[in-house]
Amino acid sequence: MRSIPITPALPPHRAQVRTLVAQHRNEPGALLPLLHAVQHELGHIPPDVVPDIAAGLNLSRAEVHGVITYYHHFRSLPAGRHVVQVCRAEACKACGADELMAQAEELLGCKSHETRGDGAVTLEPVFCLGLCASSPAIQIDDKLHGRVSAERLGRLLGGLA
């Protein structure tokens, strides 16, 4: 009987990343657009795709890792099902953003920069959503909310599961 050499199949997410690499590799300065595309597709940038990106763009793994970890926007770990961002910049601080963040931590049962144990929600600070005349401002997933009172925060966060 003939033996057939077995190459382990590439995990689907790495195959996806290789497709994205092929789409972006010829753009000038392709790394950021590519990382955005990967995070958009997979929700985060898993460490095991770094070699695929590095090989595709002719960069070292260190360079790719350095870029991913330099920018706040890119995640190496999956976020919760919902992402709650509370603005901590000056205009929102002048309107009670610090108290709002403390309240969000309490309501969600999860600290800033953390994902709750059940994976339902990630809480993060953000430095300016550009809603500085409608402070304090927060963002929940893709939706912006301005002039957020304590009572309104309770209603907005109450529905997250």
Binding site: A30, H73, V126, G130, C132, A133, D142
Partner: protein
């Protein structure tokens, strides 16, 4: 008949989509929908009135606001569609004093047009600057920009025309136009409003620059926190390209200009121009040493004109109306207008475009109406996170680059953040150092290490551990950061810190007013 409900992020954040849905549903249920066109315009920038609904009437547009979805049936009962009277009625939009008192040049279309409608843009003076520029040579266009007195609106206030001339005169097979739309300063939103509310103006400004300076490619680097701006720009670029305002043969001129919209990734320091270029090249956003200037050696080593959104968006008007028209606004060496952004704890927060030269007091009270909380106004930070806290003794100084520089302050990007008497200035100073520690790119030591030491020193001052000695240490540290940092991140973080210390020493536990207070 047209009804306008803004699509600006700040309107969406307070329920503009929900109001639009409620209005449409109500019109359909009453059988009134056939004759009504709903336009999703940009915002007028009167954010305490958002969501603001406007209706076209023979006398002009009539405004209502702030409108909640549940107000819609009563508004229609009151004759909203004819501009009828209602408790939320604001009268003719253009007559609202906040708007009527402004000098809107760059923001003259804001909130009036459908941002993505090419017809609207053309009908409101759009493309006139480009058409004019197409009849001139590059040197003449650069000369117009220089003669207008336009200075970089991102904050550094460098004469724009000098940059244009440098890029023009640097020989190269390829040149690039880059728009810095990484508006990371807390308290600023004029770039966001421009990109969301009048994107063709920015496209026109960049196209004028591209054709004049011989660049065939342009990049707009937009922060990832502005997804609506990114979406609006991408759609606008697609439509402008299809209509021949961008592409291989701009308006039949035989010249090419392609525009690319790139998303940033949440690094504040990438608003610094050389860090931005590194980021566009796909690297970590680390500040470059200058020289070489970007105008000589910028993106991918090519001569690069890099400007803030408002700088580029000012160019179409300058070309269309001439340098003198623009130059006739303003004072001293600060020519034209600045879109000021009233933010934070302010009653009437929003966008106020005025010629340089008015006072902060006028902005804070005649426009802003004092604090939103109704408490005494304590501190005002002008010019973003790296700007100083301006005390009341300086509120009558004219808003002018040189007048502010004379008291050690900056106008920056025109952001004005108001704090009431509950503000703890020592904590705000600490925050400035902490923010610098979080966002420092790490290349130079004063910024990377100094910011962390700054947080520690301020903590010791507040806890009264060797306070007098620690204050000396803080001043010494700030001196090192100001004079030893590579860019404005480390170099200007001491501005808010020292102004807080000098003008509000009691918040640091220092009873006597400091001798060095300005």
């Amino acid at each position: 008949m047209k009804v306008f409900i803004p699509r600006d992020s700040a309107a969406l954040a307070v329920g503009a989509d929900e109001v639009a849905d409620a209005l449409q549903a109500e019109l359909i249920s009453r059988g009134l929908d056939a004759g009504v066109t709903l336009v999703r315009n940009g915002s007028r920038g009167l954010f305490w009135l958002e969501p603001m609904v406007e209706v076209e009437t023979p006398e002009g547009r009539v405004a209502y606001g702030p409108v909640a979805p549940e107000d819609v049936p009563a508004l229609i009962d009151a004759g909203l569609l004819q501009g009828g009277a209602h408790a939320l009625g604001l009268g003719l939009t253009e007559a609202i004093p906040y708007l009527a008192k402004q000098e809107r040049l760059t923001f003259r279309r804001m909130g009036i047009t459908d941002p993505l409608s090419l017809d609207d843009y053309a009908a409101h003076d759009g493309w006139q600057g480009l058409e004019k520029a197409l009849t001139m040579d590059g040197a003449a266009v650069a000369q117009q920009v220089l003669d207008s007195g336009l200075r970089g609106r991102g904050g550094a206030a460098f004469p724009a025309g000098i940059k244009w001339r440098t890029v023009l005169n640097t020989p190269s097979a390829q040149k690039v136009i880059v728009c810095n739309a990484d508006e990371g300063d807390g308290g600023t939103f004029s770039d966001r409003m421009t990109m969301e509310g009048d994107p063709y103006m920015l496209i026109e400004g960049m196209t004028i620059a591209g054709l004049a300076l011989g660049a065939t490619a342009g990049y707009i680097y937009v922060r990832s926190e502005y997804p609506h701006a990114v979406a609006a720009l991408r759609e606008a670029v697609t439509r402008a390209t299809a209509a021949g305002y961008l592409g291989d043969n701009v308006r039949g001129s035989g010249k090419a200009f392609q525009l690319h919209v790139r998303m940033a990734a949440g690094s504040y320091v990438c608003g610094e121009e050389t860090a931005l270029l590194e980021s566009l090249e796909g690297k970590r956003g680390i500040v470059r040493a200058k020289p070489p200037l970007p105008a000589i050696e910028g993106l991918f080593g090519q001569p690069t004109l890099i400007h803030n959104v408002i700088s580029l968006a000012s160019v179409p008007l300058i070309l269309a109306r001439g340098a003198d028209f623009y130059k006739n606004y303003g004072m001293g060496r600060s020519r034209g207008t600045l879109p000021f952004q009233l933010a934070g704890n302010i009653k009437f927060g929003g966008l106020v475009e005025k010629a340089f030269g008015l006072s902060l007091r006028e902005l804070l009270f005649n426009f802003g109406g004092g604090t939103r909380s109704g408490r005494p106004l304590k501190a005002v930070q002008v010019g973003g996170p790296l700007g100083t806290y301006v005390p009341e003794s300086q509120w009558d100084i004219p808003l002018d680059y040189e007048a502010y520089a004379a008291v050690g302050a900056v106008l920056g990007h025109g952001g004005i953040v108001v704090h009431d008497d509950r503000a703890d200035m020592a904590q705000l100073a600490r925050y400035a150092m902490e923010f610098c520690a979080i966002e420092s790119c790490g290349k130079c030591t004063p910024c990377r290490i100094g910011s962390t030491r700054g947080v520690e020193v301020i903590d010791r001052i507040v806890k009264n551990q060797n306070r007098a000695q620690q204050v000396i240490l803080l001043r010494d540290l700030c001196d090192t950061m100001v004079n030893g940092s590579l860019c404005a991140m480390g170099g200007m973080t001491p501005y808010p810190v020292l102004s807080a210390l000098n003008h509000y020493p009691e918040d640091f536990g220092i009873a006597e007013p400091d001798q060095q207070a300005a």
